[in-house]
């Protein structure tokens, strides 16, 4: 009886995966070798299709994060492509592959030229992913539970300038029960690592791109419920430093506004967030003399 109930629980649920793929040409791995991007793309498409292959109900969305904009690669916002089979690939998988490639080439050709490296709008893309998840959840049939997760694939450095957006995304995701997974392809990303830790996701940093698909399939394909049944890389210690609001740098010790909890690395007399006026601290008052000597 119990087993039957568990199976029912399973059948009424849908697993939604939103992949946020960093396609910014200023990423170091892309600048070194532009082929790396297409390698990432192939791995992402194969991984997305592997997710769709798990169960007929599974859903997929792919979002491209560029230096100037964020856009959906799959599904198409309005009307889907008409794709017919050309080989033995399952129609739905061909559709994903074709749509993603077509949309991405469209984005890349239409992107404004850049002269110096630009940062990726990762936090914005993740917010967009959250919006998509929220929309899917709102449109779900009564009785259907949607288990959603977001996978971020990026080779960018993280920028503390997006600190506030990141934190908003992480805590919203935590509240909605959405798991955030991160696969770092270049530098280690401490902010995103915090996000994984907060939402119960997996963080993985790869030092080389070889075998990317195999890593993705190993660590990120199982949904959070299945992950308990498998042996996955153990969580590493998370760097929980915050970025200051004034210079967007990671700091260990800083000043915190007593009203709005904004963090500053240097003292400022007026809080830039909530405009509270603080008393200027004079030189530290001399230690009260030990008057009471008995």
């Amino acid at each position: 009886m119990e087993k039957a109930a568990a199976e029912n629980d399973d059948s009424g649920s849908v697993s939604l995966l939103v992949i946020v793929l960093d396609t910014n040409p200023s990423q170091r791995i892309v600048r070194q070798n532009p082929d790396n991007l297409s390698q990432c793309l192939d791995a992402t498409v194969a991984f997305g299709n592997a997710h769709l292959m798990q169960k007929a109900q599974n859903k997929l969305a792919v979002i491209s994060c560029h230096h100037h904009a964020t856009d959906f690669l799959y599904p198409m916002p309005v009307k889907q492509l008409e794709v017919r089979q050309v080989d033995g690939q399952y129609e739905v998988f061909s559709l994903v592959e074709k749509t993603v490639k077509q949309r991405l080439s469209h984005i890349i050709t239409n992107a404004p030229k850049i002269t110096q490296p630009n940062e990726s709008l990762l936090a914005g893309s993740m917010s967009m992913a959250l919006c998509y998840v929220a929309r899917m959840q709102r449109n779900a049939q009564p009785g259907v539970k949607i288990h959603s997760r977001i996978l971020v694939l990026t080779g960018s450095n993280e920028c503390a300038s997006q600190y506030m957006t990141y934190m908003n995304v992480f805590f919203t995701a935590q509240k909605l029960g959405i798991v955030i997974d991160v696969c770092a392809l270049d530098k280690s990303l401490s902010l995103l690592q915090q996000g994984c830790d907060i939402t119960g996701g997996q963080y993985l940093r790869l030092t080389q791109l070889d075998g990317l698909l195999q890593y993705l399939l190993w660590v990120f394909l199982p949904d959070p419920k299945t992950r308990q049944m498998l042996v996955l890389p153990p969580p590493t210690k998370v760097d929980y430093r915050a970025a200051c609001f004034c210079h967007r740098e990671m700091i260990d010790i800083g000043y915190v506004c007593s009203v709005c909890l904004s963090i500053f690395c240097k003292f400022s007399p007026i809080c830039t967030t909530c405009h509270t006026v603080f008393k200027v601290p004079g030189p530290l008052p001399p230690k009260p003399k030990k008057k009471k000597k008995v």
């Binding site: 109900q57 050309v86 033995g88 129609e91 449109n139 049939q141 259907v144 394909l221 308990q228 498998l230």
Partner: protein, 497 residues
């Protein structure tokens, strides 16, 4: 003098015989055996499986049927060229779930998805069946030949929309169901269609209907079949069809692959039947008859799969889980169940009324509404007919009115039905299960109390006593123990005399 009578049966109260090995004496009514795809595959021979794995569609369908852990294992070794040591694979799973892992490993072996080999160094390793590996890769990444129905077509001048296809499919399928309950035959001549002899043969083969002196009537299994959800009905029916397909000269792998191609197709899109061999075209015509595909004319090279064919093995996937603004669900429930056991069904279909009448007492009938009440008698009558409580509950759940699913209790408990009603139906079923049946032999008419006690104690000592009563000097031993007790008694009475 003692006389023993071999009685063919003795039924005992559960409390007495609970410790006894109970063999089923009264043959339980044969219930409907509904296999899922995995169970179906397990009963096939390895050769057949190997042949089936030649089709990417079947590999994909098989993959989706695997348990969660097995799917992860397969995908992780899918891109590994050499065999993977078994110890390595075992280390992938958490030890807390060793049982699930063992069962997954077994299933993969049974389905011939992977097999044991040895690698240099003498370690035993797992290797995916090459055919399966190749074709699953094709399904996932592309390559190979296109599926048989994907020839390019000119644009249909009158494309059919999803609403039309749904309506068409259900009307075709209902024809089969109507035929089963006989309502189709009752108003023959009024435009109601009769089903083909082929379909009747499948119903007979599946034991859903039987031929007797009055003609063809529905069986107990047939009624249980009616209570299944449409998706399970179609799947069960197709399995029965596949059982007989070899007799018709159709090849099983071809049919199965065709069925799954349909199951993986897109609703509302047209496909081409060009390049299919005549046998597959015949199969297509059968599918057309049952409403799995829509085809305007027999000869037309274009067909539309319907919702019945989609995800044929997986009922959860047929209902769109997420309804986007431009889609609307078609089939909606019509049954409202209240906590006072009243059942309101907004329907005018004689079939639905007939099915409802199997387990409810119908009170009123209006043009678009039937009111009934679930009573102990009506439910027990259904239970006597071999329908189980779970079947009744799942039927009511499946067709419950959308508004039922929005009530507070439904959201909390997943079931849209009032819990009291669900529990009561289950209790009514349990009521019937107070007896366990044990086959045995009665010993009675002992001449002296001493004889009785000796024999009873002997029977008890070898653990074959089912029941005894000292006052009437009657005892029952199990059938297996009868020979022993008889021998003992002969020896005992010889010594005594």
């Amino acid at each position: 003098m003692t006389d023993y009578k071999a009685s063919s049966s003795s039924s005992k109260h559960g409390s007495v015989s609970s410790s006894m090995p109970s063999s089923l004496l009264v043959a339980k009514p044969a219930n409907l055996q509904c296999k899922d795809f995995q169970e179906y595959l397990r009963t096939r021979s390895p050769d057949t499986l190997e042949k089936l794995y030649n089709y990417p569609t079947i590999c994909l369908a098989v993959y989706r049927e695997l348990p969660e852990i097995a799917r992860q294992f397969v995908i992780r070794i899918l891109f590994v060229e050499q065999p993977v040591p078994q110890a390595v694979v075992a280390s992938w799973g958490s030890q807390y779930y060793a049982k699930e892992q063992a069962s997954s490993t077994n299933i993969l072996t049974e389905l011939n998805v992977w097999r044991t080999t040895t690698i240099p160094g003498g370690l035993s390793a797992w290797e995916l069946c090459p055919t399966f590996k190749k074709n699953l890769k094709i399904a996932l990444l592309g390559g190979g030949k296109p599926w048989s129905m994907s020839h390019t077509l000119e644009k249909d001048s009158k494309p059919r929309d999803i609403a039309f296809l749904d309506q068409y499919a259900m009307s075709r399928w209902r024809c089969v169901l109507h035929y089963m309950v006989g309502t189709g035959g009752a108003n023959k001549g009024q435009g109601s269609e009769v089903i083909s002899p082929d379909a009747v043969r499948i119903l007979l083969h599946a034991n859903l209907m039987k031929r007797d002196e009055t003609g063809i009537t529905i069986t107990r299994q047939g009624f249980q079949f009616l209570l299944l959800d449409t998706q399970s009905q179609v799947w069960h029916f197709m399995l029965m069809y596949l059982d007989t397909c070899e007799e018709r000269g159709l090849s099983l792998p071809e049919c199965l692959s065709m069925l799954f191609q349909l199951s993986f197709s897109t609703l509302g899109r047209d496909y081409s039947s060009e390049g299919m061999n005549p046998k597959m075209l015949a199969f297509l015509q059968h599918l057309r008859e049952f409403g799995l595909v829509f085809q305007r004319k027999r000869k037309e090279g274009r067909f539309y799969p319907t919702r019945l064919a989609l995800n044929v093995t997986n009922k959860a996937a047929t209902v769109p889980a997420v309804v986007l603004e431009d889609e609307k669900s078609q089939e909606s429930g019509y049954i409202v169940v209240e906590t006072n056991y009243r059942v309101y069904a907004y329907t005018d279909s004689p079939l639905q009324v007939a099915v409802l009448g199997l387990f409810t007492e119908l009170l009123y009938r209006f043009p678009n509404l039937v009111v009934g009440v679930l009573t102990r008698d009506s439910v027990r009558q259904a239970l006597r007919g071999g329908i189980t409580a779970d079947q009744i509950i799942s039927y009511l759940e499946q067709y419950s009115h959308p508004n039922m699913k929005l009530t507070e209790s439904a959201i909390k408990s997943k079931s849209p039905l009032p819990p009291t009603v669900v529990d009561q139906i289950k209790l009514w079923e349990l009521e019937r299960n107070r007896f366990t049946y044990t086959e045995g032999v009665v010993y009675n008419q002992f001449l002296s109390q001493a004889d009785f006690i000796t024999l009873r104690d002997y029977a008890q000592s070898i653990n074959v006593l089912v029941w005894q009563n000292e006052r009437t000097r009657t005892m029952v031993v199990t059938k297996n123990g009868h020979d022993d007790v008889k021998r003992f008694w002969k020896k005992f009475s010889k010594n005594a005399s």
